[in-house]
């Protein structure tokens, strides 16, 4: 079938117009003439950064070593220390750039940057801004520099020099669809930067329904190495009274909220030695994974529901929260909840996946993935943990733009054969030919019914992991090909679903491999953090037979400045076993 394609050329194509993507675009324009940002929604306001308010504060003089040590410790020694070192050296310069573009940071009376310690920070600090103001300034700066925005375009696959996925060649561009018209667009570009953010299974949590991990999935399909995907599981307890999910759990914890059960007992005291020893009113230092599992156990053992107890708050605290979390506080007010007088029920549940760089595409310090021509930035990339996501989006965005642009210099965008374009177009639009078949909403229902229960998400076990993988495989091989899209909106949702499946398969495949419990990953059979055997990276790759090959690599401490002081095996504080 002959179609009219929209065909565009660029020096660099940046997929995803969030914080990392805008940084990449801005820096790329220092070197390259034609820089295109393709964004599924609206550039600067379709991801999470618009809702954020902390980034990493610059390293003060003389503090580099303690900052590095803390960042590595926060990652449980799993991080790529080369990337952390680059990050610490460059974040200050990037924040100065943002200030020069009009981003407003909170200041002390003497004009210096105001900083705060957020969860887990003892030595390092965070700087503070308003996400919306920051992102609008980044958008303005990109436009001022002549970056071209292609909004309402979902990039659906990468194009390779040998026409294969996975490829033995290099990336030469990408294809996509207009989200409103289903027009098929081909971008010819010698460098592609993936900065697509996290992945949601559309559970209505924390405004992330539009994120579908497109970069992770496309790069995996193309053959890039992807690391530690078992750490991609997101958990939240920012679900209020079973009817709001407006964010704020972090802020509440940092401002002296307690978590209590139905009996009025402080939940974390049962599970965490830290909780007993530290400020008894403060649960803010404990890992989210532990908090979520603890609350789930309380509920399953009959001591639930669990609640946020903000009754100790001063009016000053309430006013501060109204400024930082206007939507959350307005939601409470609209429901007639006075946070200083009433408990607020809180439910732990699965949240956005791939939301931190604890899992992601392997990159060099130039943000190159393992495929020539393909770069990754922000949470699409792997660091291994410990870093401020906003800070890493900033530094990696800048570097990916620079090195993607330098690679593109002197290269001419490659044109495709007509037959190849026909095939790509047909593939992208195939679901619109199916007149009957499952609708995307029904597929997402099946996916969430499978993956949201605690015995699959929070507490993993070999048999249950294998059953989940089997069902994910069935959804991918049997149901998805028959799915039907009645319009462009549904077609885009099916492409998103396809990516969600790819990522969830990787998550559960890696979860089967990691035989210990660490951060968000918990194995019933191995309820301990095992630094003796598991200071390792689980490296997954598309094996070109439709499967995934796994390599397990020890973290290369021989090359790193910070080594674990003692190698430990720590029992998990939140242990639970489901009856078979």
């Amino acid at each position: 079938m002959t179609r009219n394609y929209i065909s565009k050329e660029a020096d660099i194509l940046i997929v995803g117009g969030g914080l990392a993507g805008l940084w990449a675009a801005i820096r790329a324009r220092d070197f390259a003439k034609k820089v295109i940002v393709a964004e599924k929604g609206k550039v600067a306001s379709s991801g999470v950064s618009i809702f954020c308010h902390t980034t990493f504060a610059p390293v003060p003089p003389g503090q580099y070593e303690p900052y590095l040590k803390e960042q590595v410790e926060r990652s449980n020694y799993l991080c790529d220390q080369g990337l952390v070192e680059v990050f610490l050296r460059e974040i200050g310069g990037r924040l100065n750039d943002m200030i020069s573009w009009g981003v407003e940071f909170e200041r002390n009376p003497d004009g210096s940057l105001k900083t705060e310690a957020v969860r887990g920070q003892k030595v390092t600090r965070s700087a503070l801004y308003t996400g919306r103001q920051m992102m609008m300034k980044m958008r303005e700066e990109a436009l001022r520099r002549g970056v071209e925005f292609e909004e309402r375009v979902m990039i659906t696959d990468l194009i390779t020099s040998d026409g294969m996925l996975p490829t033995n060649g290099e990336i030469v561009g990408a294809v996509g669809l207009n989200t409103r018209t289903a027009d098929f667009i081909i971008y010819h570009s010698p460098s592609v930067v993936l900065s697509t953010g996290a992945m949601s299974t559309k559970t209505n949590i924390l405004y992330t329904n539009g994120l579908s991990g497109d970069g992770h999935a496309m790069a995996f399909r193309a053959g890039a190495e992807i690391l530690n995907m078992e750490q991609a599981c997101g958990q939240t307890f920012g679900v209020w009274n079973r009817k709001f999910a407006t964010g704020g759990q972090q802020q509440f914890l940092m401002n002296n909220a307690r978590i209590v059960n139905r009996l009025g007992e402080r939940v974390m005291e049962r599970y965490s030695a830290q909780a007993k020893v530290n400020n008894p009113e403060f649960d803010g230092h404990i890992e989210f994974g532990d908090i979520c599992r603890a609350m789930a156990i309380e509920n399953m053992e009959g001591r639930g529901p669990c609640y946020f107890d903000l009754r100790g708050w001063s009016q000053e605290n309430v006013d501060k929260m109204k400024k930082i979390l206007p939507t959350t506080m307005a939601a409470f007010e609209d429901s007639g909840i006075d946070v200083r007088k009433q408990l607020i029920e809180s439910t732990p549940t699965t949240a956005t996946y791939c939301a931190s760089h604890q899992a992601g595409l392997r990159i060099t310090s130039k943000c190159e993935t393992t495929i020539p021509g393909l770069f990754a930035a922000g949470v699409t990339a792997f660091v291994g943990g410990g870093l401020s996501p906003q800070g890493f989006c900033t530094v990696s965005g800048y570097r990916s733009g620079e090195y993607a642009a330098k690679r593109a210099m002197g290269k001419i965008p490659r044109q495709l054969e007509k037959e190849q374009m026909d095939n790509l177009s047909e593939k992208a639009l195939a679901w619109m030919k199916n007149k009957s078949g499952p609708a995307p909403d029904s597929l997402y229902n099946s996916l969430n019914t499978l993956t949201v229960p605690y015995e699959v998400s929070f507490f993993k076990q070999e048999k249950r992991i294998k059953n989940t993988l089997k069902e994910l495989e069935r959804l991918e091989k049997e149901e998805l090909p028959q799915a039907s899209a009645t319009d462009a909106h549904e077609l885009i949702k099916l492409h998103e679903f396809r990516n969600a499946l790819t990522i969830l398969k990787l998550i559960f495949t890696s979860a089967l491999e990691r035989k210990e419990s660490r951060f968000g990953h918990y194995r019933e059979e191995y309820p301990y953090r095992d630094d003796l055997n598991w200071l390792k990276w689980i490296v997954a790759k598309n094996d070109s037979n439709g499967g995934t090959s796994i390599k397990i690599e020890p973290v290369p401490f021989g090359n790193y400045p910070v080594k674990p002081e003692k190698v430990v095996k720590i029992p998990s504080s939140t242990q639970y076993k489901f009856k078979p």
């Binding site: 609206k42 991801g47 618009i50 809702f51 309402r152 409103r180 559309k202 559970t203 439910t347 969430n448």
Partner: protein, 80 residues
């Protein structure tokens, strides 16, 4: 639940719609809102709204009504 309504009477005299184009039509990251032939915003896919409030905040005339209450997938299926 979530996005409730858009009051087109308030769009009538909107200077932004008449000059640069309605900002609400481009607010939504999940394609809930489309534009009609008069350049006014329509709720096209209400069930996909995740109550981020960006559309409400982008409207200078308070024409968009959004509720923070949202269907939460499977949250009621847990044991409490």
């Amino acid at each position: 639940m979530t996005i409730r309504s858009i009051n087109h009477l308030l769009c009538e005299t909107c200077s932004i719609r008449l000059t640069k184009g309605c900002p609400v039509i481009e607010s939504c990251s999940v394609d809930v809102i489309r534009g009609n032939k008069d350049g006014k915003p329509l709720i096209a896919y209400a069930q996909d709204c995740h109550a981020c409030f960006l559309c409400r905040d982008d409207c200078p005339n308070c024409a968009v009504v959004v509720s923070a209450e949202i269907p939460l997938i499977l949250v009621n299926s847990y044991k409490y």
